[in-house]
Symmetry: C2
Subunit: 269 residues, 2 copies
């Protein structure tokens, strides 16, 4: 199997995203290897040897996705036996011309601490944890968004992702069995209705997830799951709460939909 390398002087997250986006277009498998923090000539030589060994092993040149800005290090990597894909070089010159500015390459540009954004994100994580699963219902004044939905519809991972990735303070509140008969919005949610965003999920998928946690329970029964999903969706429609069905979506997609529909301000871009 061919190896795909993602290499950078920083986290290599940009190289990974760049490489994955391209390789996902091809119907074949790769072995993935990330080499991060290649900040010195010495580390560049070690990385190069690693690439060369992978090429020798598979008998095919490895694919090397990188974003180096330091020329000395870049040249060492570029001299390996793999095929180099460096997406910066294709775009920097056209952008320089369009902006009438000279690029100022510096290491650790993209995924390092930027002023402000770091504190926002940590604060948002603390907020999401403190206001997870309806544990406190008196902090909603500070929420940027309040995710609502039945148990196991994706609220907690979505709240945490919004916090970690975008610095958005997301509380979440579960509608439980006790709420279900004649489901209405409790007053502490009604007071922040504009912040509400609903999650829903197909009853069958909900059953599967709950079954994995509490096998053969009423909580995981077909009847209960169908009823809860029906009730919350009725509520969302009645109260005009925007909502998304999470069944087929990753946490990236769920949160991108939330951002897109609410126009929430991000503290990190």
């Amino acid at each position: 199997m061919r190896t795909a390398f993602y290499i950078s002087d920083g986290t290599a997250i940009t190289s990974e995203v760049f490489g994955h986006a391209l390789l996902s277009l091809f119907p074949t498998e790769f072995e993935h290897q990330t080499i991060s923090f290649v900040e010195t000539i010495e580390k560049a030589h070690i990385a190069k040897e690693k690439i060369n060994r992978a090429c020798a092993r598979s008998g095919e040149p490895a694919l090397v996705f990188h974003t180096f800005v330091n020329n000395d290090i870049r040249e060492i990597i570029d001299s390996c036996d793999g095929v180099i894909y460096n997406f910066l070089e294709h775009f920097v010159a056209p952008l320089e011309q369009e902006l009438q500015l000279t690029a100022k390459p510096k290491a650790h540009r993209t995924h390092s601490i930027h002023e402000n954004s770091y504190d926002y994100r940590i604060e948002a994580v603390n907020y999401a944890l403190a206001n997870d699963d309806g544990s406190i219902i008196t902090n909603y004044e500070d929420a940027d968004v309040i995710l609502v939905g039945v148990s196991r519809s994706g609220k907690t991972p979505s709240s945490l992702y919004l916090a970690l990735q975008y610095g958005i303070k997301a509380a979440n509140y579960p509608f439980t069995d006790e709420d279900m008969e004649e489901l209405t919005l409790p007053p502490f949610l009604k007071a922040h209705k504009k912040k509400l965003f609903g999650l829903t999920i197909d009853a069958q998928r909900l059953m599967d997830i709950r079954e994995g946690r509490m096998s053969n329970s009423r909580y995981a029964s077909a009847r209960q799951c169908r009823m809860e999903v029906r009730e919350v969706e009725k509520l969302y429609k009645k109260e005009k709460i925007p909502f998304v069905n999470t069944t087929k979506f990753s946490v990236e997609e769920i949160t991108a939909k939330i951002l897109s529909e609410t126009g929430l301000q991000r503290y990190k871009y």
Copy 2:
């Protein structure tokens, strides 16, 4: 101010990473706008109008970073008044030639649910939450890594990021004031010594963070912070626990260092 647009038929995360990596090289400010889930001709026209309005407003062409694979939609976006940067087009043909394969563009490639990886990540988030802050010390058998460090050195955000981003199960355990006199590894950590990874932080930064939470407390005092940091670093060295100083690092950098030093297997790439 010029507007930078990040557009895609999916989450637009790839377009964002691509655009940010480039724009971060230029010493100027941009207004950022993401338009995700442009999946129809109609939505493409709406996006195009939005771009054109931004161009008219600022008097300069907007920068448009996109990754469309559907030609009909791409052509509409490409016909806007902005300048188009499409990173796929530069790399697909060379990759096709190298791989001797034809690219099979499909929408929602990169940040959608892939088999397995989704369940791993949700399970890892649940694990991180259940095993946060030393709340349970009997589950370490299941941990991929156990982060240790003093209170507020970055353990919780790092654990959650490892879970959400990579599907890695990270527990975390805090060394508290009571542990500090003659700090040694408690037996339940010693039993999993190979899984331990230490976080440390500059005492001054620790003081600032703790001061924000419990002003004028012993917990936030210079003396206490210095002592705690000194003790844990001594322990890491004595026990040969790998560690990273988180003071100047983002959560992406901290976790990339953990991955790089431990060689932990990721469940999502």
